[in-house]
């Protein structure tokens, strides 16, 4: 008899989602964390969402994950980014109260039946005959389970750098996991090294906010979660400031003392979230760099300075801060640092996030080379769902690139060699116009319901809303009005449908209220949804044709027992890459570097013969 069905190692954003999903899918689950009070910690900035990331949070929510719900309940400043651009790239972002986020997460997990929180550091993962068996903790305890999700974040051989000073740690003030990585390498996993950084934390009472540009939240912010009924309140402000000429001088004078530049750090850092020394060094011509001052919480003065991640020594960090407008007299609560950690390049996992070397073992989050809470959370949810599905004897759950950002991310992970921590962007999604925040439920809620993670109530509410939107679209298409009623430049008596009017870039749904009774009464959020679908219609049709073409290759499954090394006619390079990454379908194969279309054609011919007679399985 095993202790649990599923063990989740790590209480970060990936671990929380994995544990919640597995337990809510009715499997006994243990979340093991080195410090239970730190479950739900936001290790870096106190914000959830952002461009490309807001989409991930809403996708997690539509599948029945918890990140969006926690954020709605602990957020103190909510904003939609990119509102000047089209709805496909509108992205939600929230500042959360760091302490509240942690506490709310812990309470939420404690209320889930089947879920136990276990305090302890895992020392070793034990597999028998290529199948996960149990874990051994540092204190010698053994915990057995049928499946395991490893979501260890930056803890695997974590090493913190502040200037010349190096400290082994998983997060500042917490010990690293020193044996787990070796235990995995013993099982045949191949490790790599990545780095990420975090900025200093400031004492807000010593900041001259009056001189800085204030950034309020949005009044009409749409909650992240389908579970949230109430509207959200902004209870804090963010502020904007900039680096100065002096900042540049300080950084350049001390560049050799940065852990990044002295050569102490071997791991590769993210291009997208560069340290301040990196930014100043690389973009010398740029006179100033934008910085955001973000509140850490309601009952603390602590301020997070977004954009100033650094691994320079403490004294230099202070000089830099004092060179910034509004921060001339600031007190630094804690210096910024860079952290290096082990990760496992994701050619070692399947798109279900199950590892190839060890069955029933799943990897989620930074261990797969990603960066960011949202990326981690999404993987945690997928790993939790898949661990549960497999134990129930069901097929794995995949999302493809045309269905969700989650699908894009996992596909990128399993088809590309990581050169830096992976962060989500909307430009990574080729079917971006179809992957919007407003339509997450249309895309994903059915899966959430299928797995029992979305309750009937939520689903019915969604369905009712969907029907209302469809009916309204239909009505707009056949309701004719005088154009001159809404467009004063139209002088003749021409009529056109409300739908056609709404297609015009300058006309919003709320503008129709002036000429149409029903529009005045229609709920605003549904109205916006109608507007987006009407305005984007032409694009979505074109995109759908692209998606149909994409699906042709995606639906050509490469069976597990298909050995590419036995295929004649493939180039040697292609055989090597295909053997390493083991793509599950021809679409994935075509996205591997080193595989040409000619190789895909050869594979296609061989697959036809291989599957002749047997029924080919469709991707879900």
């Amino acid at each position: 008899m095993r202790d649990y069905d599923v063990i989740v190692i790590g209480g970060g954003h990936a671990g929380i989602e994995a544990a919640a999903a597995s337990a809510r899918m009715e499997l006994t689950t243990a979340l093991i964390s080195g410090d239970l009070a730190k479950i739900g910690e936001m290790s870096c900035n106190p914000a959830i969402g952002g461009v490309g990331k807001g989409q991930l949070v809403r996708e997690i929510d539509a599948l029945g994950g918890v990140m969006g719900y926690i954020t709605d309940n602990t957020g103190i400043h909510f904003r939609a980014l990119n509102k000047s651009k089209g709805p496909a790239v509108w992205s939600s972002r929230a500042q959360a109260d760091r302490k509240l986020y942690r506490e709310f997460s812990q309470h939420l997990l404690l209320r889930i039946p089947n879920l136990s929180l276990v305090s302890g550091m895992v020392r070793e993962i034990i597999a028998l005959n290529g199948r996960f068996d149990h874990v051994i903790l540092m204190d010698g305890r053994t915990i057995t389970s049928s499946a395991c999700v490893l979501a260890s974040g930056t803890f695997l051989n974590g090493l913190i750098h502040i200037g010349e000073k190096q400290t082994p740690a998983g997060r500042v003030g917490e010990p690293p996991s020193l044996y787990l990585s070796e235990s995995l390498q013993k099982l045949g996993f191949q490790a790599g090294r990545l780095k990420t950084g975090t900025p200093p934390r400031l004492d807000g009472s010593t900041i001259d906010f009056d001189r800085l540009e204030k950034q309020p939240g949005d009044d009409d912010f749409r909650p992240f979660s389908l579970l949230t009924n109430n509207s959200l309140t902004n209870r804090a402000f963010c502020y904007l400031t900039y680096t100065s000429k002096l900042t540049q001088e300080v950084v350049e004078r001390n560049l050799h003392r940065s852990a990044m530049f002295s050569g102490n750090i071997k791991g590769i850092g993210p291009r997208y979230c560069p340290s301040i020394e990196d930014k100043i060094h690389r973009f010398r011509d740029k006179e100033r760099h934008q910085l955001f001052l973000e509140p850490e919480g309601l009952d603390t003065n602590e301020i997070y300075i977004n954009g100033l991640s650094t691994s320079l020594p403490e004294d230099v960090q202070l000089d830099i801060l004092h060179s910034i407008a509004g921060l001339e007299h600031v007190v630094m609560n804690r210096p910024g640092y860079a952290i290096e950690y082990d990760f496992f390049p994701a050619f070692q996992i399947k798109p279900s996030l199950e590892t190839r070397p060890v069955e029933h073992l799943y990897f989620a989050g930074q261990i797969n080379g990603t960066s960011g809470y949202e990326e981690a959370g999404a993987q945690g949810l997928m790993a939790g769902i898949n661990a549960a599905l497999k134990l129930k004897g069901d097929e794995p759950f995949y999302l493809d690139r045309s269905q969700a950002y989650i699908g894009v991310m996992i596909d990128d992970l399993v088809t590309k060699v990581p050169t830096e921590p992976y962060r989500m962007f909307t430009s990574r999604a080729e079917y971006r116009l179809a992957l919007r925040e407003d339509n997450v439920a249309d895309r994903l809620i059915k899966y959430g319901k299928q797995f029992g993670l979305i309750n009937d109530n939520i689903y019915d509410t969604y369905m009712a809303k969907r029907q209302m939107i469809n009916a309204e679209k239909h009505r707009l298409g056949r309701t004719m009005v005088l154009i001159s009623q809404i467009d004063s430049s139209a002088t003749n008596g021409d009529k056109c449908s409300l739908a056609l009017l709404l297609k015009r870039p300058a006309i919003r749904y709320c503008d129709l209220a002036g000429v149409d009774e029903v529009c005045r009464e229609f709920p605003a959020d549904c109205g916006e949804h109608v507007e987006i679908e009407v305005k984007y219609e032409g694009y979505l049709d074109k995109q759908q044709r692209e998606i149909d073409r994409f699906q042709q290759l995606e639906s050509k499954i490469i069976p597990d027992d298909f050995d590419v090394r036995k295929v004649n006619g493939l180039k040697t390079e292609a055989v090597g890459v295909l053997h390493q990454f083991r793509p599950v379908n021809l679409g994935q194969a075509s996205r591997l570097a080193g595989v040409t279309f000619a190789d895909i054609t050869v594979l296609m011919i061989h697959l036809k013969r291989h599957t002749n007679g047997s029924v080919s399985r469709e991707t879900p």
Binding site: V51, R432, Y539, A598
Partner: protein, 463 residues
């Protein structure tokens, strides 16, 4: 349509059907060398010979001790061969019976009869050539003129692919900027950079437009120039047709309406294939067969690049020309006045004066006087009014390529309009991606097996 297997060894006769000085059989695939060794007696073991060597030997007969033919065997080892695989080419005597026997011997030893275009398809699958290059192989074989041959060779060399590839690279660069600004929250492209982007977009669109407009030239280069000879019954159309082709191709009689069908023949002028068509006279038809002939003549006239309108100088030419001009409107045409041997110099001079604005060519199809002037006029009209020069530049000759370029242009035009109107970047990024995809389709980077099967099925067997 499905693609044939790619890991077996294929064989086919690669020279045209019929009797010839020699005939060549090509074998390609892993077993090419072993199969050659099994069916051919040589002093060396063919399995061991070096690449790019030629060996003398005998093809064994079906009965032991008998021989089929005396042959030369050329050996090419992968990847330095036409298909990129091991290739054996057997040069035998050009008797179809012998060649067929050698093929069946190869098949008995494990080879498979190649499908149409399969050798070239393997060259594509082995990555030796891209799709544009593969298509140019079929063109090169079918080329009927020096110009088309040159264009096909140019495309086979990969230079057109490289040009399209360079445009694709520019599109990727522009697209990356739109992508970047889509992902920078709340940032707009600065005015100056927007101007530069617009200029870049214009440049790329202009390059593609030039490429697209080259298709008209490409079509002429590929299909040749169509020149129907039209005119009233008995004006001497068939005689002129014969005079130009300098051979008795059509039946010439005194009875109007003798030519009931169109007869066509090709000659080369200015390096371009020119197809002259002798048409039935356009008059009220007397019988059924003639009606069909006239119908066909109308179709020829519609498809014409240039018309020769011929009139009989003895048969009230001025009135007939005036009444025909309406039919010829909108087309390039040359007015020919035939049978000058039947009228006086002074009559001709006055006709020339009356019809000066038509610049008629006076000739006699019977005595051949003036036919050379007509050919010279045809060449000058082709030079002046048809884009036939510059075959060494990037010319589209393939409709598939033309349509894809058109598609790319229309997406880029969309993007330009949106950029000017200040619309949102993700929409321009979408257009740029679509345009890039169109170009990738040309090169065969994005395609599907149906398309491949269709392209290669247009080849002849043995290529």
């Amino acid at each position: 349509m499905t693609l044939p297997d790619s890991d077996d060894t294929i064989v086919a006769i690669s020279t045209p059907p019929g009797y010839g000085g020699i005939g060549v059989i090509r074998i390609s695939g892993k077993q090419a060398f072993t199969i050659a060794n099994t069916i051919i007696d040589t002093t060396v073991n063919i399995s061991d010979v070096k690449s790019h060597t030629i060996h003398y030997g005998y093809v064994r007969g079906t009965q032991s001790g008998s021989i089929t033919d005396e042959v030369l065997v050329a050996a090419f080892r992968a990847p330095n061969s036409y298909t990129g695989e091991d290739v054996i080419e057997i040069s035998a005597h050009g008797n179809p019976q012998i060649l067929k026997q050698i093929v069946s011997l190869a098949i008995d030893s494990g080879a498979r009869q190649a499908a149409a275009g399969e050798f070239t398809m393997r060259a594509f699958l082995s990555g030796r050539i891209d799709l544009v290059q593969a298509e140019s192989v079929a063109d090169l074989i079918a080329a009927e003129s020096a110009a088309f041959q040159q264009v096909a060779l140019y495309q086979l060399s990969g230079r057109l692919s490289a040009y399209i590839g360079s445009i694709r690279a520019q599109l990727l660069e522009i697209g990356a900027l739109f992508e970047a600004y889509t992902d920078f929250p709340d940032e707009e492209i600065p005015r100056q950079q927007k101007g530069e982007l617009l200029a870049k977009l214009n440049d790329v669109t202009a390059s593609l437009s030039r490429l697209s407009s080259s298709y008209r030239r490409g079509e002429i280069i590929r299909a040749g120039v169509q020149i129907p000879i039209v005119g009233p019954p008995n004006a001497g159309k068939s005689s002129l047709f014969n005079a130009i082709l300098a051979e008795e191709r059509a039946i010439v009689t005194e009875i109007p309406g003798t030519t009931r069908d169109t007869i066509a023949e090709k000659i080369e002028i200015e390096g371009i294939a020119v197809r002259f068509v002798d048409t039935a006279g356009l008059r009220e038809a007397v019988d059924q067969i003639e009606v069909a002939g006239i119908e066909r003549s109308r179709r020829e006239i519609d498809a014409a690049n240039l018309l020769i309108a011929i009139f009989d100088v003895t048969d009230d030419p001025i009135e007939r020309i005036r009444s025909s001009l309406f039919d010829l409107m909108g087309k390039y045409f040359i007015v020919v006045l035939n049978k000058i041997d039947l009228v006086s110099e002074s009559d001709l001079a006055s006709l020339d004066y009356e019809l000066g604005d038509c610049r008629p060519v006076f000739l006699s199809a019977k005595t051949l006087v003036g036919v050379d002037k007509l050919v010279a006029r045809i060449s000058s009209v082709m030079r002046e009014s048809m884009p036939i020069s510059g075959v060494d530049t990037n010319v589209l000759t393939n409709k598939r390529h033309f349509l894809a370029v058109q598609n790319a242009i229309s997406f880029l035009t969309e993007a330009r309009v949106k950029l000017k109107q200040g619309e949102s970047y993700e929409l321009m990024a979408f257009d740029l991606r679509q345009a890039t995809n169109s170009l990738e389709e040309i090169l065969g980077k994005i395609t599907n097996d149906d398309l491949l099967a269709e392209i290669f099925s247009r080849f002849c067997i043995g290529k």
